[in-house]
Assembly symmetry: C2
Homo-oligomer: 230 residues x 2
DNA sequence: GCATTTATTATGTCTGCACATAATAGCGGA
DNA sequence: TCCGCTATTATGTGCAGACATAATAAATGC
């Protein structure tokens, strides 16, 4: 028979007590041992539950002092960033893309700086327009470092750079930033907009650990939202 | 003495093998028991390492079939969403805010719809301008449900609604969405902009579990970015 | 051949115990 | 009073064993 208090039940019960203000912000909660006794389970089970809550930012735990309810609870929002093709198909739309440009050239100083490369370094510049139901969805402006990408495909018309990278250079480090920007005249033209409007922009830089791989700027069509539950 | 293979070491070693393509995407990796034997540790230790990697989206695990390297690795970006005051102070700027409006009224249909409330329901409408070094930083347009907020402060000039909510109604459920929008004339005026530009917008809805608490629209001053490491 | 039951297998979780580690409290001596 | 050592304490991690669960493969019946 299933034990009445698995670690998920304990996590839920602790959350309930915090929400019910039985345990108030800043206040210490019982030790793992005390709770194990109360719930009639092993300390490891309580530990698992409390560890998850600490990870979520609900509890602050310190050796010797014990666990306390976080005073300034920091909400942690977590987003999935799928391949563009899967993002479009996930909306029930058909995916397509157009390769706009593919050539080696020296990128602007801002890009080189972000990647930490020498000023005269040539990179592979790729611009791709992603389509959802044949309508512009996302404009991708990417710089690739050929030095760390041994077997690049001959051309990126069969598979988008986006997808090729996820499949061939996965599990890299990097950072991402979201912001808003007005569409440049060219962006407006490529996205099929009659007038310049506010666009959602995501910028990513990725590394293998020591060498830079790619810097990309993603400009989404109007109305794009990135959404998640808290 | 510390065992040579703790769960973190195992997680790192598995990641190394995946990055080195010793274990390729889609391919099965050894069972927990086999790896426990290889690393000379208990199965629980391997389990902990692999569980974390599955949570990060690197592995896909299924009972009976075992673990395999994810074919379409989904990047998971995680953002901290602090109280606005702490966000401003964290940048080394001084925080301030101005309460622009505070009155009970019937919100627009879109807001009622998002909160799932009756059409004639009155809510408390609060508009706050948050300042960083006395310069407009964020425009907050919030609707509060007084029915579930028993002891609201007399006025929100001493502590911003934002902070009051985090301190008094923490650990709620909710969702958040990021998007881009052009500043309305009024938004432009309040943020001190001479011309309408693209602004970063965050919209949140929060619940106690059954009853809606608040819906808020946060319009950030130009240049705002939300950034994180992957 | 096909559907249903049964056995097998890897992961998921739990227990009870042990020791490591970090942070704190208390003590003793100068 | 202050400094430094030691003891204490709660969490962090580990082990070996056990059973639960879900998914698959094999065996069975028709």
């Amino acid at each position: 028979m299933k034990p009445p208090f698995g670690w998920e039940a304990i996590r839920a019960e602790v959350m309930r007590r915090i929400r019910a203000r039985e345990w108030q912000p800043g206040q210490s909660i019982p030790t793992e041992e005390q709770m194990a006794a109360e719930f009639g389970c092993a300390r490891a089970t309580v530990n698992r539950a409390l560890r998850e809550l600490a990870l979520a930012g609900v509890l602050e735990r310190r050796r010797k002092s014990g666990s306390r309810v976080a005073l300034n609870p920091v909400r942690k929002a977590s987003f999935d960033i799928p391949v563009t093709r899967l993002e479009v198909e996930g909306r029930g739309q058909s995916y397509g893309f157009v390769l706009l440009e593919e050539r080696e050239q020296v990128p602007p100083a801002a890009v080189l700086d972000r990647l930490g490369l020498a000023a005269n370094q040539e990179l592979l510049h790729l611009r791709t327009l992603h389509l959802a139901d044949a309508v512009p969805f996302l404009l991708e402006d990417r710089w690739l470092n050929p030095a760390v990408l041994p077997d690049l495909p001959r051309d990126f018309r069969a598979m988008s750079v986006n997808e090729w990278l996820v499949r061939n250079m996965p599990y890299t480090y990097g950072d991402i930033a979201f912001s808003a920007a007005s569409a440049t005249p060219e962006e407006a033209r490529l996205l099929g907009l009659t007038e310049p409007v506010a666009l959602f922009v995501a910028e990513r830089t990725t590394w293998t650990g020591e060498a830079p791989i790619t810097a990309v700027r993603l400009v989404y069509a109007p109305g794009y939202r990135v959404q998640t539950v808290l």
